[in-house]
Symmetry: C2
Subunit: 301 residues, 2 copies
């Protein structure tokens, strides 16, 4: 088993590498920039460059592929034109992987593939697909092709739809990271009323789900979700208590985005039964661990 992980310096990727290294797996990490750690082989590659995906596969010769790389710049990725480049790069990556005899691939999808209008519980088999963003459209389009190709040609491929996540090392511009940094730095965290309910997992559990999926034989779509909706207000409340600054949050200071659905959460039957994965962190413990990390970290990180 020789695992190639793309997007290895990303939020999920770093935790995936940690877990694979800890398991003693033969792993090669790939991202645009170096990872700054010396306990894992790393190949620098910008997969959106012509030929880069094929060259990476031919160099690494992986038997297993965990494809996490994509544009994930907060606030920018939803409708960026390079979502099309990432779809094209992913197709080249998967095609090359199968050409060198790759045995098992798991690809990161998104809950943004689903139809969010009037949504509540989002189920892999039952819920309609109708992405509202170019990011969701590109992930959805990629999945349609990759899974059909796999079915047609006998490849073992699974597709994990990521929901909301949080944890140590999250980039600025996201809910938990921005609130944590504001509270740590003595500022007021301005958030919306936060009545909308979402489905959160700790990033190490998201990584764990993908690692488990890579080791399983399950083919098809699975949600990477907790199955338990929680309000944004509860997430922020929990976090602010763990940061010991519950008074530092101003709820309602920001408007709720128009069209924000009140409730979105994923079913977890496939993750639990087909992949055999259950998260380690509950929300309270996970946010406490995350708060500790933020309190010990400084802005230079």
């Amino acid at each position: 088993m020789r695992v190639l992980v793309t997007g290895s310096s990303g939020f999920v990727g770093r935790h995936v590498i940690d877990q694979l290294v800890a398991r003693g797996v033969n792993v090669v990490a790939s991202s645009r920039s170096p990872m700054g750690r010396h306990d894992v082989d790393h190949v620098a590659a910008d997969l959106t460059q012509p030929g880069a995906a094929t060259a990476l596969i031919e160099k690494v010769q992986p038997t297993h592929l965990l494809h996490l790389a994509w544009n994930a710049v907060p606030g920018q990725f939803w409708n960026a034109a390079d979502n099309l480049d990432w779809c094209a790069a992913s197709l080249a990556l998967l095609r090359s992987f199968h050409a060198v005899g790759g045995k098992r691939a798991v690809v990161a999808g998104s809950c943004a593939e689903y139809d969010w209008t009037g949504a509540g519980q989002l189920d892999e088999a039952l819920s309609p697909i109708n992405p509202a963003t170019l990011y969701g459209v590109a992930k959805d389009a990629l999945r349609r092709m990759v899974l059909r190709d796999a079915e047609q040609h006998g490849h073992s491929v699974a597709w994990g739809r990521i929901f909301w996540l949080y944890g140590p090392g999250e980039a600025p511009g996201r809910l938990v990271s921005d609130v944590a940094v504001a509270l740590r730095d003595g500022r007021t965290a301005a958030v919306s009323a936060g009545t909308q309910r979402r489905d959160f997992l700790h990033v190490s559990d998201v990584a764990g789900a993908f690692v488990a999926a890579l080791h399983s034989e399950y083919r098809g779509i699975f949600n990477v979700s907790s199955g338990t909706p929680v309000s944004i207000r509860d997430v922020v409340g929990c976090l602010s208590e763990a940061m010991e600054r519950p008074e530092g949050v101003h709820y309602g200071a920001r408007p709720t985005q128009p069209g924000e659905p009140p409730l979105l959460y994923g079913t977890v039957d496939r993750l639990q039964r087909e992949i055999g994965f259950r998260p380690i962190f509950g929300l309270r413990d996970g946010l406490a661990e995350t708060a500790r990390w933020w309190r010990q970290s400084c802005d230079a990180l």
Copy 2:
């Protein structure tokens, strides 16, 4: 106006080039192999090679793009893995076209994007999408991304879904070409019972529809169809009369493919009203013209 036509040596492409040259349009043709004509600029390119699509666009600097290139090898293309390569190449082509300031693009889609189970009339706005083949899945996926990207970023893009077609120069392995060659060569043409009804256009009308679409400002999907279903038996009957060998056809000699829907035809409102195109050939005239061509051609062609 500087038009780049990909797939220029294909069945539709050759007729598109004829019509653009006849209109005096500044046109650059592109295909893998040379076209064997000297009245039009040609750039050889295999778009599925890394970087080829971008290099082609940067070399030609087109203001208008007619993207017809795809794997179209009869009997092979429906589930070939390189449908994914063609989707990736098409994404690179469109992205590069917009990067150099391209004004208007029209892309070849397919009626294979539609759901054929229980189908009858296939309508751009109303009919469900559920492609049964990898070819249909890849075309469908490409369309979702390209049209959403166009909407998001203000590009002028139209998508023409090709139905059935016939005409001079058709490759072997297709209905009309195989029957015509068998009858011309004194053999018996073995066909199915032919009760299923389909929607046929002469290839020069298909080409005319794409040329008209390129000159229009219509954005979105349009069927390239006649709007009139005709049975396969009537098509073959008409052709065999025009070939003056009506006795040379053995109906029912081949099985009808399992799952063949009895009726598939497209609406033509958008083609007529939005694109402003009406076909020149009726089926009888078109098949007579095609029969003349086959009778004058020899196998060396």
